[in-house]
Amino acid sequence: MAAIELRNVVKRFGPITAVDGLDLDVPAGICLGLLGPNGAGKSTTMRLLTGQAIPDAGELRVLGHELPGDSKAARAEMGVVPQLDNLDVDVTVEDNLAVYARLYRVKDVGAAVDRALDLARLRERRRDAVDELSGGMRRRLLLARGLVHEPRLILLDEPTVGLDPQIRTELWTLIGELKSRGTTILMSTHYIEEAERLADEVAVMAKGRIIARGHPAKLIGEHAGELTAEVYGPPDRLAEVRAGAEAQGLVVRAAGPAVAIVGSERAGNGEIPSEAVVRAATLEDVFVLLTGEEAE
């Protein structure tokens, strides 16, 4: 049984269709990265899964529970780590955890708090108010709060958005530990590197639906080939390279100050400019080709 099953789910906000016929299965025990640009429908999908948005059409099933009718039972078995820090800042670290242990009906609140403190590596700071913690500690606490009841499924909504690289790496380590325990994870992100490092599978979302899905290596092979040639230079030169490559039927995308010729191994002799830097194709190439958006 899949941990999450969505069938033809539609969610509209007035004239805007945020989720548009979404089909999504998340098998138990995997980490699925939901990758998409801002406005792709990732956060709305997360809200649908927690019963905070009601679909206009379609079927949702989470851990065997039909949503939205049986949403409360589903929420009891899943943990959610939100995009925004919504900890109670004046309250101590351990009280923040204890409140959520109670909300999740944990029988031994003290043991659950101790376990979560160990996970967040905050045992020494348990009696400190949250606003005395560093940004990284707060983020670890937020993650531990979502895990205080040891859920079978965890939803991570942009877990490292806006964090500096060191804190991001710390969180990736924690999420990696969760993966190794077999917890099912659905992680929305718009960071390519995060999806590449953590996800067993990646689903690329755009305009409210999944447009590609698979293991990162499989997606790269299918959509971007093996190699990407990047050419740097002044705008006139880049326009010339783009036009030349497109005339040869090659796929070209903007890549910041460069143009990237994706699948450059398919180019004939002399079709790739000599100054090009050739590298292995990446998930970022796939993302930009499929969504038309610059990746982060």
Binding site: K11, Q52, K72, D88, V99, L103, R105, A112, H149, E150
Partner: protein, 263 residues
């Protein structure tokens, strides 16, 4: 281990309500001193200003009750509305719009009905407690203890539930926090002034008297005075009115918050 397992979850689960209230209690422990200080000091200031000031210069008694005791018993309603409607309005708005607290709570097995019920209950309990302070202060100014006063926390609790529901509903309705100024000016202040706290409503024009009769604060004032100076049969109807007010506001608050929190 998922704590709640796969059991069916009911509506209005006590565990969910207690969990939300435990969050309020944890936060309250960080600011109770300031809130309690102002809740004790405010009635003293009002009593000194009105009870001693007006009482010493303009009014000796109202219906045979020394003016300071008349005001002191009426001040219970003032304490209740200011410790229920205002915290419910501002607290709910801040938790929803600025702190995203409700998003986190609703991601747990808690529904809007339980969330609103818990918020109202917490405020009701707090106001039931703070509402007694003016009565205690008035005792220092000569009010004799009476057995009926033991019911005052209950009267305050029920009234505060209603005003907490009102505050939550307002928080779910306004678009910006400064719009609470309209609520305060158009609703709370008039209710406070025609409650019969500082003067008997019998002196007001007939139309205003009619409005005062459906003012929950006026019913509370009369019940508190009943507890202090002797109940009448009509006080049962007054209490029933407050219960109905609380129930109505509870359902309105749930409806408004559901519209606000669930897309």
């Amino acid at each position: 281990m998922s704590s709640a397992g796969t059991r069916t979850m009911r509506r209005l689960e006590p565990a969910a309500i207690a969990g939300v209230m435990s969050r309020e209690a944890a936060n309250f422990r960080t600011y109770w001193k300031g809130t309690t200080f102002s809740s004790v000091l405010e009635p003293i200031v009002y009593l000194l200003a009105f009870g001693l000031g007006l009482g010493a210069t303009l009014v000796d008694e109202v219906n045979g009750v020394p003016y300071i005791q008349f005001v002191g018993t009426g001040m219970v309603a003032t304490a209740v509305i200011f410790s229920s409607a205002l915290p419910a309005m501002f607290g709910t708005f801040v938790k929803h719009r600025f702190q995203n607290t409700y998003e986190a709570i609703l991601a747990a097995p808690v529904d809007v009905e339980e969330l609103v019920s818990a918020e109202m209950l917490w405020i009701g309990i707090r106001s039931g407690f703070y509402g007694c302070f003016p009565l205690l202060v008035t005792m220092a100014f000569g009010l004799n203890p009476a057995p009926g006063m033991l019911l005052v926390p209950l009267f305050c609790f029920v009234t505060a539930l209603g005003f907490a529901g009102f505050g939550v509903a307002m928080a779910a309705t306004v678009a910006k926090i400064d719009q609470f100024n309209y609520v305060t000016a158009l609703c709370i202040t008039p209710l406070f002034l025609i409650a019969g706290t500082f003067f008997p409503i019998s002196g007001l024009p007939e139309g205003v008297q009619l409005v005062a009769q459906v003012n929950p604060l006026h019913q509370l004032v009369e019940l508190v005075r009943g507890g202090a100076f002797g109940f009448e049969a009509v006080d049962l109807a007054r209490f029933a009115f407050l219960v109905a007010f609380a129930l109505l506001m509870w359902r309105i608050a749930i409806s408004r918050m559901t519209s606000r929190l669930i897309d």
